[in-house]
Subunit: 250 residues, 2 copies
Amino acid sequence: MLTTQRRALISARLSRDGEIIAKRLADELDLSEDTIRRDLREMAAEGLLKRVHGGALPLVPPLPNFAARQEIASDVKRRLGRKAAAMIGTGQTIFLDGGTSNAEIARALPRDMQLTVVTHSPTIAAELERHDAEVILIGGRLYKHSMVSTGASALAAIAGIRVDLFFLGVTAIHPAHGVSTGDFEEAAVKRAILGQAADTYVLATAEKFGAVSPHRVAGIADLSGFIVPQEIKDETLASYRDADITMINA
Amino acid sequence: MLTTQRRALISARLSRDGEIIAKRLADELDLSEDTIRRDLREMAAEGLLKRVHGGALPLVPPLPNFAARQEIASDVKRRLGRKAAAMIGTGQTIFLDGGTSNAEIARALPRDMQLTVVTHSPTIAAELERHDAEVILIGGRLYKHSMVSTGASALAAIAGIRVDLFFLGVTAIHPAHGVSTGDFEEAAVKRAILGQAADTYVLATAEKFGAVSPHRVAGIADLSGFIVPQEIKDETLASYRDADITMINA
DNA sequence: ATATTTCGTGCAATATCGTGAAGAGTCAAG
DNA sequence: CTTGACTCTTCACGATATTGCACGAAATAT
């Protein structure tokens, strides 16, 4: 690839994605990071972009849809997402539930990783547009609040799929009442997926512990484990210990 | 090989590949790089191409690849989208195909309109997150290039749905070859939807007319009409008149 | 506070460039 | 047939550009 073309690509990516990440582009183009960084440095000198640590940003503010996408996932959720992504092996088939925590898993997945991602969330599917991963989208009636497919057709589609790993999203986690969520249909879909997964993990931010939502998804013992932020107190987690499930710190 | 022939070849390669790499062409033609570079130098002096280190590029950047196409919802597409949205009645069920034009329809829909939108594009579904519309998502294996579900399960889901209005997205429109698209699976899905729709309209930007893509979706007469930008020339559209379909100006 | 990532710089290896000179072929006038 | 003018090509070589690597500094993550 010619240098000029590479620079043109950088410009195009900048306006499309709203950012350039030096390392990622270097991997993608199979070049050293030095080359990419040199490009960025020189293009910055020409006033074509703004250099930042790790890559570059456009001078003009990015498109609105990117701005929306960029919504700040809290630092905690990003950490949980990275930890979860690290649990996934090449070639596996995983199911990503909807929700912002699981969207962070999608973002944390290496772009060139070979795996199959099943999801009933169009938002998550959209996140994976530029990944190499095979994406299986579960259709159905869209439940807007959580942006996931529900209903009979979703259940039917789920019944035909087995996955290695399921990352379940819930709104509440309680030692006695298990994990639960706010919508009846949504809970039914989650239960269906749970039944098809070899292992199920929940990304558990602090505010969910001790809470109960109307529709139960599963008991604590039905899960393989939780991924919890490390700053959560031990006594909060103590009441879950007897269920003998894994607590992964992130 | 004559100099003139060689230069003609260079021009042809430039428009076909969007680049000339001096060394590669020299090897291929079994000539020294000097000769190629002299050609490039002189053609650049005549304003036929742009010299760059390592070879040459066309003066006009190559066809908007997918990355760039994604980019700007041109003013034209927004107009088409608004016109299409205006055709939709309250309470109707419509199917939105993937693609940037159809995304503009979704954006142009009033937030509080009561209707049912069926789509196999997670991107379109995500656009409708804050609309009151009921959204039915068609699942399947995600074809990344266009971001739409394809495959047997998508076809099965489509077979169970009837819609009032289908907004079809294609890459090419030709009087004799009908409307066509670049992917085999994608074309099959589009045909399936067409069979379930009472009316089908295509948002037709100027560059699509007269073009032909590998996989035919339908003949012109199988459609209800086109929504075309008003600045398109009458003679361009003349060859479609005999099919007796509606041309809506936007 | 420490580990990891990213940065900038200098440097060496390689690729590409421009120039001028030399070789090869063509053609027409002598 | 020979010669000289002309064109096109290749070769040689110094100049310039590009790339990857090493290493200490700075920024960022844990």
